[in-house]
Amino acid sequence: MRAKPMNASRREFLKASAMAGGGLIVGFTLPGATRLAQGAAKEARMSAYLRIAPNNEITVVCGLSEMGQGVHTAIPMLVAEELDADWSRVRVEQAGVDQAFANPIFGMQATGGSTSVRGHWEPMRKAGATARAMLIAAAAEIWKADPAECRTERGMVIHASGKKLSYGQLADKAAKLAPPKDVKLKDPTQFNLLGKSGTQRLDTVAKSTGKAKFGLDVYLPGMLTAVIAYPPVPGGKAASVNDAKAKAVPGVRRVVQIPSGVAVLADGYWAAKLGRDALEIQWDHGANASLSSEGISKMLSAGAAAGGAVGRNEGDAKAETPAKKIEAEYEAPYLSHSCMEPLNCTAWVRKDGVEIWAGTQSQGPAQGILAQVAGVAPGKVKVNTMYLGGGFGRRFAPDPVIGATVLSKITGKPVKLVYSREDDTRGYFYRPASVTRMTGGVDADGRATLFTASVACPSIMEGSHFMKLPPDGVDEFGVEGIRDCPYDIPNLRVEYSRQEPGGIQVWFWRSVGHSQNSFFLESFIDELAYAAGKDPFEFRRSLLGKQPRCKGALELAAEKAGWSKPLPAGVHRGIAVVFSFGSWCAQVAEVSVAADGAPKVHRVVAAVDCGMTVNPDIVRRQIESAIVYGLTAALYGKITFKDGRVEQSNFHDYRMLRMNEMPKVEVHIVPSTEAPGGIGEPGTPPIAPAVANAMFAATGKRIRKLPLLG
């Protein structure tokens, strides 16, 4: 998702106050808060970022959603570092919706685009440093000492004489002081927590004992569970509904028609599902009933051949006549996110407002959308963010929260809307399919002189309904990863042709455009290396003279993988490197290919340069997680259409990578003092091309269409 820095002055009102019952709160008040809350509270409101209780417990309030990426640990670590907190006393609490928690990169409260650490690296540390300065000032007052004689360590202020007071003991007094205007942040060399291994996640125990509460785990008194019969063809509508048999199912309470389909509401999921199965619906399939994957491929291919809006143009690609020229067309399919927890939301529309419980990545925008749906002021919409059983971009979309709110408004009851796995798989919001035609050329010495790419795919910007295609007509997600091709090639041209196969809603999918474009570019660069008669690693390296961090990541991956060393018989290597979300990630995949063409990935060696790290253990796990996500898609992932219908439905036909297929994974972090980059997504893009390139090394056969297993 797009990084748009918000106006920093809106967040500068750092405040402190006393906690009811004792203790210190550090937070922000916003000049625009009353306007944003539309009169919800006329007085200057404060949103806590941090609370220090008299019993020494430190609570960090986090506005970001925890979906596995570890943000509920990373954000508290940022605060704890500058505060010199005792980590064993730090806990995290999920914030409600408040402009104070707007993601500094998006300007709205949302989690995605691998932005969390990048956006909060400074503000959260400032909150910690401010609290620390106030605690020191409080201790100095008590001791009648110079604050400069005091230091802090593990939740204590310690005087040069050896006197000590704990943060909890000082919290009340500190709450009466004015926060300092400016605080100095630590130099990274002074970090005790940040960048160091060994800090465990704060959500591990809850998630190892079944106690963690996800959206599906919400139960309210009098709640109905809803499932919806959705039109089987995008854009279709129910022409007639016979619900007599559905209503006869024990436990079914209501059947209602809403814009998205026909909803059955019941006392629990099973009754609702049986009720839905018993519905007799005549569908009007609308304009898309002949939609097919073959037709989509043809449409995209024609678009790529015709070319379109120019996204980048250097040198003179049209005039260039290389000694050797290659040309190829690549294709990637639609993909479903398939979060482990099927989509859901619980909503309760009451006279005094709307309350929802959801694992959502976009609580800020949801507040505004639901205010419109329910016809109330945004300040009357309360969003309770639950743990997300996976997000991957899918939980940025508002469809479940809208559906649940509409149904609660109609019935007057709390409603939990549940997507079955089939609904989830067939629920659109897919990673767009794309066809890209590329040409490349090398001179007589094997140096690359030409690269062109013509991309044809649907526009996520237009599909998102919160962005617009820019005036140049190039969808940034359609071309990202290709337009910013890091290789130093003098004649380079990238074009984009927007193609919209009927009615298929496209969306952000872990690493977005990079997910397919890196497969295209990094496979094609491999082709070019072979055309030049060069080693694929050395060929890339020779084109990265102006990209030291990219080259560094590439070299580290190659070195750790032992690029030039022999492998067991039948095992071959492929390499790829990608810049995305502020980080470089290079991967070497070791692959063997069975007689039937099926690849087995034995080991993946990754190197990541993501600048300074918060929690290197989480960084390694996120890269590994992203590799599994990308590898699953590379091997098996495809959503296909026939007669307007999605052909896949559940994990038997939309396959997941499993334990027995899991490669060994090694992740190496490039030491860095650069600003932090993103980490949730950058591990996904390189794996498909790394594996495809290894398969080429094994078989001499180039696979240009995903998934690799066909």
Binding site: G70, R201, T225, G389, Y629
Partner: protein, 154 residues
Amino acid sequence: MVSLVVNGKIREIDAAPDTPLLWVLRDSLRLTGTKFGCGIAQCGACTVHLDGEPVRSCATPVSAAAGKKVTTIEGIGATRAGKAVQAAWIRHDVPQCGYCQSGQIMSASALLAKKRAPSDADIDAAMSGNVCRCGTYNQIRAAIKDAAASAKGA
């Protein structure tokens, strides 16, 4: 009415006999640690034990559980293997989103109750029915081996 023994307690439930055990546990008993992932025995998120055997509760009619001991993630810590597995999960910081982990822990506990020192092939066989969309498989494997080693020492 169906009568079940869940985590050592007798529970009477008003449910049709063909209702999947999963929905009885979640919607009737509010034991929400057992998760819904696919509904067709493809993902393992709903794994519970029936008399110590791992089963997919989404594909097990509640009638099939009558008269048997049902153990869920909420009760597995009371077993020797379950306790060792949960402790290892925490030591290895296994969960990411966490949604699959109840099912993973239930499958791993059943494996460890049978095999004191499972091999990689045993782990593949016992755990490949459990999908983890966050890709924690290598951490799961390491935690199972660690749990086996610690249970042996205990």
